[in-house]
């Protein structure tokens, strides 16, 4: 049995869905589990945290994300509460925070895990852009893991409420300072954590045409992605790019519209549970990789699809 710590990420106060994935992972295996959460009021999250031993609430005058402060605070929490294994989400913040934390607590870190054995301190993660899987083991006093979103099935929280412990935020000097957070255009869905993604390629032909995909995305509550060709042609912004040099996404449904299916695109979305391709070329390589395909003009097919989804989900 190990002492497991979990870093719970909040987004504007909202408990991230992937936290539930971490909790589901940790509740199995009979470990002592403590969740760390930076917040001034822990009550709203207690329901989610049922069935683990404790929640460590980090409080302080300023709880806004500054990587130095968060890393130092977590390092001291790990020492104080003697957490041997510490896990977080492989999110934008997890990618920024965990390597710094690993250096501070002098622990090995395996990032972007698909599966973790918390007792054995082993994990499986994709390497070579998902062309292979690697199994790693962490040695030493402590071990850190970040887990890819949307992989671990969620079990509903059950059991008794956790004990509440507290720790203080380290508000000391920072080497770097986040001076501003610029919000994205409208409330876009974060692609790396999206459940459904509709993506467009070079075939979109113009920036305005992405409205066709956005309409479908709206009825599906999906994020909108793009191929590199669409980004390089100026039809989509670079944060929308899926693939080797863009984002690795892992939705339950990925709908590729007018995308040929180049290897560099495929490695960014191949772990999607279901892939749908819409392409007017029946020979397009994407059809070899998709679960379902429709051969046709996306400008005809996508609006029809939107109407059909709207009808069925109504």
């Amino acid at each position: 049995m190990a002492n497991i710590g979990l870093y719970m990420e909040l987004k504007d106060g909202v408990f991230k869905k992937s936290n539930r994935e971490l909790l589901s992972l940790a509740r199995k295996g009979g470990h002592d589990v403590q969740a760390v959460i930076f917040c001034s009021d822990v009550q709203p999250y207690l329901e989610e945290l049922k069935g683990i031993q404790a929640v460590i609430q980090v409080t302080g005058a300023d709880l806004s994300y500054q990587p130095d402060r968060f890393a130092r605070t977590l390092a001291s929490v790990i020492e104080t509460f003697q957490l041997d294994v510490f896990c977080g989400i492989y999110s934008a913040q997890g990618k920024d925070l965990f390597p710094r934390l690993a250096a501070k607590v002098k622990a090995g870190l395996v990032s972007d895990c698909l599966a973790v054995d918390l007792g054995a301190r082993t994990a499986v993660k994709p390497v070579y852009s998902g062309k292979l899987l690697a199994e790693y083991q962490i040695e030493g006093e402590r071990a850190l893991f970040t887990v890819r979103p949307n992989v671990i099935p969620i079990d509903p929280p059950a059991g008794s409420a956790p004990e509440i412990k507290t720790a203080a935020m380290d508000n000391g000097e920072t080497q770097s300072r986040i001076t501003e957070v610029i919000k994205g255009a409208s409330q876009k869905v974060d692609l790396t954590e999206a459940e459904i993604i509709v993506s467009g390629g070079r075939a979109m032909k113009a920036k305005e045409n992405f409205a066709v995909l956005e309409d479908l995305a709206k009825v599906l509550n999906a994020g909108v992605g793009a191929s590199r060709a669409a980004v390089d042609s100026g039809f989509a912004s670079s944060d929308m790019q899926v693939g080797q040099t863009g984002k690795v996404v892992n939705p339950k449904l990925y709908i590729a519209c007018g995308i040929s299916g180049a290897i560099q695109h495929f490695v960014g979305m191949k772990t999607s549970k279901v892939i749908v391709a819409v392409n007017k070329d029946p020979e397009a390589p994407i059809f070899k990789k998709a679960d379902y395909g429709i051969v046709g003009d996306l400008f005809t097919v996508v609006p029809l699809l939107k109407e059909e989804v709207k009808r069925t989900l109504a």
Partner: protein, 256 residues
């Protein structure tokens, strides 16, 4: 200012990767390239140098003999010097960072250090931040916009949903590049000729005080992921195909 770009040599993105003996890949027929994010790092280093006359760009790469080609490419793009940390062993991210830090620390005057946000072989996305911790300097990763006014750097980094963090930090600092930071230049003919004349400095791994035995993260094995079974194209007129697709997504795949 002495500017650094740490680059890793990785298999070409098109290469099919085969496992050799459970823990390594078959390197026969693999074409090697500079990891794509590290190309952005080199380009940004060169741009910074152009804005600050008198600066120098040094490319650093740790790996076996073959990585000298990656360093030659960086020199041909315009780097002034190159350091090869000779290492045939498999180091974990922490040890890689320590070895790179040893090289950079030897230069009392190091300024901005550029890396990629992740190497596309191990996809660890750690070395840049570990390097900064090792050198006790600030760092930002996934950087899309970089500006430097001598003593301070201002960067914007992507944090998802199109949102960005604006970060200010003192120089020296570590900046890890995302796609979109710039468009890497191609090496010119003149650059290639010039690069041939530059001597790549070699540093033996032992000199850095790092060795494989200190790895905390050990690779146990590599395996091939399960292949997806071939899917099917839904026949019929668009309207009929779409209706059938939605039915399949609901009833068969259960994703709607």
């Amino acid at each position: 200012m002495n500017i650094y770009a740490c680059i890793k040599q990785v298999p070409d993105t098109e290469a099919s990767i085969l496992i050799k003996d459970g823990r390594t890949i078959n390197e026969a027929n693999v074409k090697w390239i500079i990891s794509p994010y590290d190309e952005y790092a080199v380009e940004e280093a060169l741009k910074l140098k152009e804005k600050n006359p008198g600066s120098r760009v040094t490319a650093v790469c740790l790996g076996p003999d073959r990585v000298q080609n990656a360093l030659r490419t960086a020199l041909a793009m315009g780097a002034d010097a190159a350091v090869h940390v000779e290492c045939a062993a498999m180091l974990d991210a922490q040890n890689t960072a320590r070895a790179l830090a040893h090289v950079i620390r030897a230069d009392k005057d190091f300024g901005v250090i550029f890396l990629g946000r992740q190497a596309i072989d191990d996809d660890a996305s750690q070395v840049h931040l570990l390097l900064a911790e090792e050198l006790s300097i600030p760092a930002a990763t996934n950087v899309l916009v970089f500006a430097c006014t001598g003593a301070t750097a201002r960067v914007e980094r992507e944090i998802g949903e199109g949102a960005r963090e604006v970060i200010e930090m003192a120089v020296p600092c570590v900046v890890a590049a995302a796609k979109g930071l710039n468009t890497p230049r191609y090496a010119s003919m003149m650059g290639i000729m010039k690069a041939k004349k530059i001597e790549i400095k070699k540093v033996a791994l032992a000199e850095t005080g790092v060795d494989e035995a200190q790895n905390k993260v050990r690779l146990l094995k590599l395996s091939a992921p399960a292949e997806k079974p071939q899917g099917r194209v839904i026949p019929g007129e668009p309207a009929d195909a779409v209706r059938e697709l939605v039915r399949l997504l609901r009833e068969e795949a259960k994703v709607l």
